[in-house]
């Protein structure tokens, strides 16, 4: 494998930070080498600097997208860490539904859920399954949005199409049979679940314009790749788009201490969630 030089790490570190918010320091040479090996070959680049300049110069930004896809980590699975989904099922949804019905004055109550770093869609479809099992069809206006920085991840999420390794992870067999159909070794999410969700590309560190307000925001295991400063920026932006009685769920090993004073941690069973102060 071609070794990356310190000044090339700096080049890419700045570039990747600007594109994705992901923070990469000099110790991550191996990460850049393993993630960009194929792109070097594909683009006939002789050095990492060469790849960088090609990406910067290319008007169509195809290479830039590939760089984002290569550097982002799409580690995800259905019902990753069951805690947040139990929380959703037993506390958040019932509470929000009660309050939204009271507000709706006889009209259809609405519920808006945003998965801020949805990767290839498993979190969104896990949420959709919980909603489907909890709420009677047609009685609610449900808006379920999944966003990610990686075009490739958003595309796969939109297709709702998974290989057997992805499907084996986290999804109980009864739910697999109920909500997916198989074609050979691939599995596709049912039209009903698919139609509950929309997906689009979003950079979490650019201003959230036209995003609207949300009742529940899932932002799990993405801020871990950001600097403290960017984490502060991200969560204060989320505070602005979260309804006053909304809920924020972050990754189980993440913390908002020293990151965002707008949120108060609370615990339900073994899971922490955040509400606005």
């Amino acid at each position: 494998m071609l070794k990356i030089k310190p000044d090339e790490i700096t080049l890419f570190s700045n570039y990747i930070h600007k594109l994705t918010g992901i923070s990469i320091d000099q110790s991550k040479a191996y990460l850049l080498e393993t993630r960009f090996g194929r792109l070097l070959q594909e683009t006939d680049s002789t050095t990492y600097a060469d790849l960088y300049h090609k990406a910067r110069m290319e008007p169509g930004k195809h290479l830039e997208k590939k760089i984002i896809d290569a550097i982002t980590t799409n580690e995800t699975l259905f019902f990753r860490d069951t805690g947040p989904f139990d929380l959703l099922r037993h506390k958040i949804i019932p509470e929000l539904i009660d309050s939204r019905i009271a507000k709706a004055n006889g009209t259809r109550p609405s519920l808006k859920i945003w998965s801020a770093a949805c990767s290839t869609g498993q979190e969104v479809y896990s949420i959709a399954i919980v909603l489907k099992e909890l709420l009677a069809k047609g009685n609610y206006n449900i808006k379920l949005l999944g966003t990610d920085i990686s075009d490739a991840a958003v595309t796969q999420a939109s297709y709702g199409d998974y290989n057997k390794f992805e499907i084996e992870r986290g999804l109980p067999k009864d739910k697999l049979i109920k909500y997916f159909s198989s074609s050979g070794s691939r599995w596709k999410v049912s039209d009903e679940l698919r139609s509950m969700a929309t997906f689009r590309k979003i950079n979490l560190l650019t201003p959230f314009t036209n995003l609207g307000k949300w009742d529940i925001v899932f932002c799990r295991n993405v801020a871990i790749y950001f600097t403290l400063e960017d984490r502060q920026k991200l969560f204060s932006q989320i505070a602005q788009v979260l309804e006053p009685d909304g809920y924020l769920i972050i990754g189980s090993t993440e913390s908002l201490t020293g990151v965002c004073p707008s949120f108060v941690p609370k615990r339900h069973l073994r899971t922490i969630f955040y509400t606005k102060r």
Partner: protein, 188 residues
């Protein structure tokens, strides 16, 4: 990794015995079935890493039926189909339905062993990934527990500090009562 468990399915007893002998010699654990029905009965009772099945068999369940049942029962089971006649259509249909490979009769044993070796390597990699994932889950759960306790504790302390701050700046109270209220607050 322990030995691969293989189920060999063929209505021709000579073929079954031949394959069984070869595979046992190579240290695979081999079970056999003489038709599709018996194969399905067996595969629903225990787990096989690989099922090696003839495509065309008498009875209600042929090789494709065994493949479908195996995949339905346990997605991790890999199925290799054996066809008497070279038929691209059959092979494509089998692969579409999730077969990992297909072999032509008469069986070339070097080829069969090579494919089994590949499946074994793939399963080892998968096991490795599963082990890593489990180790990651354990680490994650344990650190999540610690972080949760700290997060709640810090949250409480922050509220306390802001309450104390408010009390200390309360112009309606004299210095003495401010201190008293603060001590009261801390005690609760």
């Amino acid at each position: 990794m322990s030995r691969l468990n293989i189920l060999v399915v063929d209505d021709d007893p000579v073929t079954v015995i031949l394959i069984q002998k070869k595979l046992v010699k190579e240290d695979y654990a081999v079970d056999t079935a003489e038709d599709g029905q018996q194969a399905v009965d067996k595969l629903t009772k225990r787990y096989y890493d690989v099922i090696l099945t003839d495509l065309m068999m008498p009875g209600d369940i042929d090789g494709i039926g065994v493949l479908e049942a195996a995949k339905e029962w346990n997605i991790k089971t890999e199925v290799i189909l054996i066809t008497a006649f070279a038929s691209i259509e059959n092979a494509i249909e089998a692969m579409k339905k999730g077969a990992v490979d297909y072999l032509q009769k008469p069986i070339n044993f070097d080829e069969l062993l090579l494919r089994l070796e590949k499946i074994k390597n793939m399963k080892m990699l998968m096991k490795n990934a599963t082990d890593l994932r489990e180790a990651m889950d354990v680490t994650e759960q344990s650190s999540a527990g610690t972080i949760q306790v700290l997060e709640l504790e810090v949250g409480k302390l922050q509220t306390l500090i802001s309450d104390i701050n408010e009390l200390l700046l309360n112009d309606n109270l004299d210095a003495q009562s401010r201190i008293e209220r603060v001590i009261e607050k801390i005690d609760t």
